[in-house]
């Protein structure tokens, strides 16, 4: 599964707005995982990512600790994603969750 991060547009940053986006993303095959006050996290199967977003995604491996950090998580990277049509009214930004460092 590819992890997605969804930033909701300003007027919709309410529990109702978040709920609306949660419903909408499921109609295009995206599964919500958890949400906050302004954002939702979600997942999409690898094989449907390109159909929905029209760009490829690349898996990035995790890395063990090094001199400067205590390892890097795994994750995915992609070019900027185009917001699918049904979400445009409600969503300001959608992106793939990229790897992070343990500092």
């Amino acid at each position: 599964m590819i992890k997605l991060q969804i930033l909701v547009r300003q007027p919709w940053r309410t529990s109702e707005g978040i709920e609306r986006v949660r419903e909408l993303i499921q109609t295009i095959g995206i599964k919500p995982t958890v949400s906050g006050r302004t954002t939702l996290s979600a997942e999409i199967p690898e094989d449907s990512f390109e159909d929905v977003f029209k760009v490829p995604v690349t898996k990035v491996a995790s890395r063990p600790p090094s001199e400067r950090d205590f390892g890097r998580s795994g994750g995915n990277i992609s070019d900027d994603l185009i917001i699918p049509e049904p979400l445009r009214k409600y969503v300001e930004n959608i992106s793939v969750a990229s790897p992070y460092f343990r500092m």
């Binding site: 958890v34 006050r37 600790p65 992106s95």
Partner: protein, 513 residues
Amino acid sequence: MKRVQAIHNTSRARKTTKPSEELSIAITFRRPQDGLGPTKLSARLSSASVAALRPDPLDIDRALYELHHRGFVVSAKGKLTASVRGNRRLFEKVFGTKLKIFRIDPTQETSSQAFYYPPPDAQWKPDPAIMSLIDDAYIQWPHIFMAAKKKPKPKPQPASGQPSATAPSVGYFHLSMPNDVPRLLNVPQVHAAGTTGKGVRIVMMDSGFAHSHPYFKANNYTSSVALAPSASNNKTDMNGHGTGESANIFAIAPGASFIGIKLDDDANPQGGASILEGFQEALKHKPQVISVSLGYDLCETNPFTGQRTSDKHLTTLPNGLKALEAEIQAAVANGVVVVFSAGNGHVSFPGMMPEIISAGGVFVDENGGMTASDYASAFMSKIYSGRSVPDFCGLVGMQPHADYIMLPIPSGCEIDRDNSAHDKTTASDGWGVFSGTSAAAPQLAGVCALLLEKNGGLTPSDIKAVLKRSCRDVTTGSANDASNEGHAVKASAGLDGATGAGLVDAFAAWKQI
């Protein structure tokens, strides 16, 4: 594509490695005006000159279509280059060459120790239809991990016996838990006054929290651990980072309600939750303080290896981090104190956000002398104008490894094994000597909990202000030059870039509220 000499061809390597038949290939393209591509330039490319070599996006699509048509799979596409995958035989056919096995020095920490590549005398007769569309094609070498030389790793020892509640002796100066870290941050006087963080909810998100380690039991620390989406097993921590660094919070605010959010998936090291998912999960637990010792390095970076391609700071926030930025801003606006690590030479995000407390590093030596840690980051953000990182500091060791605080970790976990190469603990004793600004963030979060117990009405900006004006000034040393485009920021009298306001003084802050 240039051919190469064999790198190493030892019998040991031959016995232990086998190259993958699946090749990862980088493709460069020609610019439309004169057909010149980046590999045909004699001058070194810079971030300015590279823009002049940008190919027509339609030409990229045409070339990738042709490669796809011949059997390659496109794995990534950028504005200047693309990556494709294909097997050895396909590559040999399309590019009219014969590949041989090359081997890498087995002491190097690489993703693979052998790979296919054209030897120096190999023919190179690519399909003309392909070569008319691209500049060149390069088989990607296995990437080198950022660790120093690979040490022989003992096999993981998944808890054949419980580690000791007592730390091993290592024979050099370091800080012991649970006493030294609170002592150097002037916490014991706060505890003596009866303030231990009681009733304050601190959430820490990290790799995991194996609090069944006898150290936590021996000190009567209690916690609850929740799983972020995709994380598994709330009792384990295969990396050890979260378990070890959480000891900093307990030592400073033993009475606080500690809630750990585990991000890692034990069964799938490539999986686990994102930082955003962890943060969203943290918010569900109604925290007053959130401590995060994770982050991103906002320099020009090879996204596949995580290695920097330049020390230059990014000047705009990447789109992929805007959701996290907004969620953190909303949390702080709702009264949550959010503490992030400033980084260990990283140009750290969210550690550079103005709304959060950015935790830097000060090293206190065995005689009590304070100096800026040269392991910790310090820089002016180019994304948030006027933002100097860090705000103030916790205790962090010095380069090369910041081996400074003896911390309890799961026996045989990743840090237990890897750190044993330099910290004089063993690979399976369940203890490691480490720090980083990963240690500073939970230390400062613990101090925030002490202040919030005394005065629950303090806002995040109140807490930042009181900590800032009560710090002990640090006037010597420099921060990590890797965080500031090669120029180490120096500490000096008063507020400075290296340590911000200096080393946090819990008692002085507590007295002020």
